[in-house]
Amino acid sequence: MYNKGTIIPGLIIFVLFVTFPIWFNGLKAGTLPKPELPPGGEKKCVMPVEYMRANHMQLLNEWRDNVLRDDNRTVVTVEGKPYRKGLQMACMNCHSNKEKFCDNCHAYTAVKPYCWDCHLTPKEAASKEVTH
């Protein structure tokens, strides 16, 4: 091989540089996010936890289409408690802290959902509440 002396160290430097984020953090993925469980003590979600963890965005889209397009606003009942289909009307009723619940994982996985451009977080909604 020609120029062995430069190519091999060069390759090593390149690999080290590309994998910088991995080894710089000590081969760890950082502290895993721990979204806050409902402060109200609710134990059961509208779907199993594993499903919600992986597919909550699909469920939200489904609900959106049900409610807006198909006029199917049937209430989802969990353990006798009725929930209206909707981010503000169902999810945030139990997961009442968006910063500690939603943002926790979204920040970790670097996703920026645009739900809150329009939808009101419980905090935002409470900031201009009706007083009477």
Binding site: L68, R69, R73, Q88, C118, L120, E124
Partner: protein
Amino acid sequence: MDKQRRKFLKIAGATALAGIGAPALIRLTSSTALAAEHGAAVGHAAEAAHGVPAPAAPLGVRLGMVIDMRKITEQPELLDNAIAACNYAHNIPQFDNRKSEIKWIWKAPFANVFPVESSYHLAKSVEKTDFAVLCNHCDNPPCVRACPTQATFKVKGNGIVAMDFHRCIGCRFCMAACPYGARSFNWEDPRPYIKKYNKDFASRMRGVVEKCNFCGERLALGQEPACVEACKGTGAIVFGDLNDAKSEIRQVLDKEFTIQRNAALGTKPSVFYIV
């Protein structure tokens, strides 16, 4: 060589003939079906010639509204209450400048609401009254045809011309298409201009068109639209199914003379006015 050429010419000629003749042949064979259809059409035309053809029987629910302007003239505060109720129910921002204004239900003078009707020597009471204007929830909505993303559409079950704000790209074609000016565009972030939040409804973002939704979210809970509820007991606004002969709104329509905004356009508005 010679023989082969002759054969080629024969085949080519036959193919050309078949190609030219095929359409004619198809037309000939299908002519029987056509004739039958034509006969039926002639029969239909004869029937219609006797008078106005009967409109097709309406199907399903078509929600509509009758606004009794006589009552609003008497009690103008009814309209203010209705507008305030709507503003709160839908987190509608209040801007000072008219360019940014967001309107779901608003006030306008007769001449603007009914530009096609004559406003020459109008009754003084009508001339001075502010009319309640909102989306007409047309049976034939031009905004729906204009929308390139199907963000606005007619809900099958109740005839409401609804919007899916998630899909709106803010092209404003619907605003150009709507002959009633019922749509508003969010030129700026509406959040700071919302006075009080209804936590069950979302706000909108900059760059989205919005309009009256006949309170689809309240109807789902068995409630009346916010403006109708605000005028409860006065009969100033009657809401109901236009296709149900027994509904309250039909009783009113059967009894009173009503007008629609620019009905000649063929949009078939679902909002009626008693002037």
